[in-house]
């Protein structure tokens, strides 16, 4: 049995499949997955099939057997246009659609000499964003969604979910939002609890920071 190279990337796990008979490769892949089932449990995977031509039936078969193992096949990457078009007919992502999505929704910038993650959409319930650096959201942060980062958090919309800025204890991290009505708000090791004041400020842009271990709320206008 051959081992397939596995790589982690932003959206999930990327597996590269080399030359050979498709049926055998598929069996080898499943064997590898079954032998490392803890690692693959609930995983989202993308498969790079090189220049191989795959029919829609082959792809959907693969998707089904993976789904039986609670693994979601979300993308097929290929240099064959035929394979890519079959994959996208089945609703799977392809190299081009992944690139597009990345450009329109998530990008990285440098702020104050640190990486910043820019997310250009509303973050909905169930999403959980962990990042080493700052996080900037062009949209809302809905209840049930979470951002944890080592730097500051800026929400160009309504912040109604849970946020934790400065997770490694950095006390100069700030949280800014156009409207602030969080479920949980933490900076460094402190939790914000004065909801009365927040309610007063609810419709205004607010900046929250820590000064001498106390929370300070300012209108966010600078």
């Amino acid at each position: 049995m051959q081992k397939f190279p596995i790589k982690g990337f932003n959206e999930g796990i990327l597996i590269t499949i080399r030359e050979g008979n498709w049926k055998e490769l598929q069996n080898d892949l499943l064997e590898q997955i079954d032998s490392e089932s803890a690692f693959f449990n609930q995983a989202k995977i993308a498969i790079d099939v090189g220049e191989r031509e795959l029919g829609a039936a082959q792809i959907s078969k693969l998707r089904d057997v993976l789904l039986d193992r609670e693994i979601k096949l979300f993308a097929i990457l290929s240099s064959s246009p035929k394979t890519e078009s079959n994959a996208s007919t089945l609703g799977l992502s392809t190299r081009s659609s992944l690139l597009q999505k990345k450009e329109s929704r998530i990008s990285a910038v440098i702020m104050d000499g640190e990486p910043g993650l820019v997310i250009a959409k509303t973050i909905r319930s169930g999403a959980d964003i962990d990042f080493d650096g700052h996080v900037i959201v062009h949209g809302d942060l809905n209840p049930g969604a979470e951002i944890n980062c080592t730097g500051s958090i800026f929400v160009w919309g309504k912040l109604r979910g849970s946020v934790h800025a400065g997770v490694e204890g950095r006390e100069n991290a700030v949280v800014c939002a156009m409207q602030l009505d969080p479920i949980k708000l933490r900076i460094a090791n402190r939790s914000y609890k004065d909801n009365k004041l927040l309610r007063k400020l609810r419709k205004k842009p607010v900046k929250v920071s820590l000064e001498h271990d106390k929370f300070v709320l300012d209108y966010w206008d600078s």
């Binding site: 998707r63 089904d64 609703g91 973050i123 909905r124 999403a127 049930g144």
Partner: protein
């Protein structure tokens, strides 16, 4: 003719997915459309009950997928409308009997014969939900104006976006103008403000829905039912008509007076 494939889902259970599917299907049939609705809630079927077709079931979805019958044989014709069909779910199996690509194949087989395929999704975000949205061209999310239903709707909208089936559209079901006025229920604007997706309709809380559901006669067939009217409007909006939202305040006037009489003692 290629059918428009619409999946109706919600995340949370009990918000009215099946009621919405039944009523919109009936309303589309009333507009002269040829409609197939599919109950994908395998193991917990009830679209057949709501449509009053329970006793006509011979074959079900799993029979089709496992090749025991042809799709045509599993399509149960409605009692009232010649162009409305139901493919019922199997009651004795579970979600794993069907895969997402089975659903895609099934819809492809009937797509040429009908105008609409409406798929009633089970609650949750697991296999059954994945099956239901796999063939969808568009998705309707049903929610109630309460915090937990809206939270689940938000989650499901996020998943639909991630599956690239979006943007989903919203139906707010069981809205009670009375409770909103008292400040005890979220109003439609609160819900839309949070979910930020397009609205296809607001259905008022209406006891005729419960009665008609029990009798297997969807409220959309009842000219006098306000909820039925709301569902008929949703069907027209799906057809591309520009229909204004129902004025629920008008009706509220009467409700309000009556409930005021009842409430005076309690408050």
């Amino acid at each position: 003719m290629a059918a428009k494939i619409v999946t109706i889902t919600s995340g949370k259970g009990g918000v009215g997915k099946t009621t919405a599917t039944a009523n919109i299907s009936v309303a589309l049939a009333q507009l002269g459309q040829k409609v197939v609705c599919i109950d994908s809630d395998i193991g917990l079927r009830n679209l057949d009950v709501v449509l009053g077709l329970e006793n006509r079931i011979v074959y079900d979805l799993v029979d089709v997928i496992e090749g025991r019958c042809r799709v045509r044989q599993a399509m149960i014709k409605d009692k009232r409308f010649d162009d409305l069909y139901l493919i019922p779910a199997a009651q004795t199996r579970d979600k794993s009997a069907v895969s997402p690509s089975d659903m895609v194949t099934l819809c492809e087989q009937i797509s040429d014969e009908v105008d609409w395929i409406l798929i009633d999704s089970p609650a949750g975000i697991e296999r059954g939900f994945k099956n239901a949205i796999a063939p969808a061209q568009s998705v309707l999310v049903v929610t109630n104006p309460d915090v937990s239903a809206v939270r689940d709707a938000d989650r499901i909208i996020g998943i639909i976006e991630a599956e690239e089936k979006g943007p989903a559209r919203l139906i707010i079901n069981r809205l009670n103008p009375q409770l909103i006025k008292r400040g005890d229920m979220l109003d439609a604007e609160d819900v839309l403000d949070l979910l930020a997706i397009n609205l296809v309709g607001i259905v008022p809380e209406d006891e005729t829905v419960i009665m008609s559901t029990n009798m297997g006669k969807p409220a959309a067939t009842d000219e006098k039912s306000l909820a039925g009217q709301a569902f008929r409007n949703i069907a027209r909006r799906l057809m591309g008509d520009d229909v204004p939202l129902l004025d629920l305040n008008l009706k509220e006037g009467i409700f309000h007076k009556i409930s005021k009489i009842f409430n005076t003692g309690g408050e």
